[in-house]
Symmetry: C2
Subunit: 224 residues, 2 copies
């Protein structure tokens, strides 16, 4: 590790557990370049707390009374899109972790993972990373891959290759006319293909077709 002249990171924490707050406070007080700007036992005044302290990183307990950490992340994402949030979770709950990922949290750390590594996670999340303990990563990904079955829907629908071409363009938001010109076929041929596609997918509008296709194609969609 190199000696660095970095700006001191201002950190703010929300956790209803006094012990957690104290142990992290202690940890941060002995850490260079980091400073616990404030800590709170609830997210009641979330926005004003953030406004008042202007932190660089937020540490957020995932499970709190009244406003949960997940709700809090959603609120933060709306107001402060750039502010990194590190989720702290005391138990291994797949769904909650997945939910907070979806809410827009940046990192996920198990409380029992050892507080030493927390410093590193804070650094990572501040520099734009998505740190998480391996156990958490595994859990999120398990949730993620559970969706795999639906991924194969469009094979199951037995679309012909031309029908796939058309559907792909439809999903990209092209009109019949545009598809016709993209594929160098007539408008009526596009119409014909789409009729067939709708029949196979059991839908009857662009919106439904796109929606159904995407749920079977999430992963590919990630690449556009």
């Amino acid at each position: 590790m190199n000696l660095q002249e970095k700006k001191t990171l201002r950190i703010i924490m929300f956790d209803d557990n006094i012990n957690v707050r104290e142990s992290i406070a202690l940890l941060l007080s002995t850490t260079e370049n980091m400073q616990l700007a404030a800590s709170f036992d609830s997210c009641k005044n979330l926005i004003s707390d953030i406004d008042a302290t202007n932190p660089d990183v937020v540490i957020m307990d995932i499970d709190m009374p009244n406003i949960t950490g997940i709700e809090a992340v959603k609120i933060l994402r709306a107001k402060f899109p750039q502010l990194p949030v590190l989720m702290l979770t005391g138990f291994e709950d797949d769904e909650k972790v997945f939910d907070s990922l979806c809410a827009g949290a940046n990192g996920y750390v198990l409380k029992n993972a050892g507080m030493e590594s927390l410093i590193q996670y804070i650094d990572e999340v501040h520099s734009g990373g998505a740190p998480m303990t391996p156990v958490i990563a595994r859990k999120v990904l398990t949730q993620f891959t559970k969706l795999q079955p639906s991924r194969m829907l469009n094979q199951a629908y037995n679309l012909s290759s031309r029908e796939k071409d058309v559907l792909q363009l439809l999903v990209k938001g092209r009109s019949y006319k545009m598809i016709a010109s993209d594929l160098n076929i007539s408008y009526e041929t596009v119409h014909s293909h789409i009729r067939k596609i709708y029949q196979k997918l059991q839908v009857n509008s662009v919106g439904e077709a796109v929606s159904k296709t995407i749920s079977g194609n999430i992963l590919k969609v990630l690449f556009f």
Copy 2:
């Protein structure tokens, strides 16, 4: 060998490295309920090899000459949608692992993770799980969360809460009429909202709107 409580799992392996093939062969020969039905150093005859051996699980090296493991998974997915594929990767390459996830592989194991655990992974993948070593999980997830920035597009578009309601239904494939009845507002109000949405998103059709929304909302879409 056939009269056991559990059926013996027939396993087929593709790996260009002779040492890997031999060590896995050895491992499986000493494992009850598992049997290496065949192993090959390339995927040249992938389909016919599978047809000939009728395996329960495929172990596939991610990096092979000619046809890569990723290509092979795609081919398998088209022909044998239900056949579990466990990817074996000798190095930590984020993109390749992510690609094979997208291609439809079911599990991901680092070669150096220790061959003992391979047995467990084979079992898991065969019973419908998505096993992966923590390091792999972390890497996939890192790739995954890199996409986060685009997730916030629709905040950037500054949609009102009602507009978001409408857009969400549009994305689900609902028609103007359905949206009107879902939200208990008139058809013309829906029309009004959609006009505004299109203006804000800079699009002019359902397809485009859905497409643009999804690239900014991939994670939420996971829930339909």
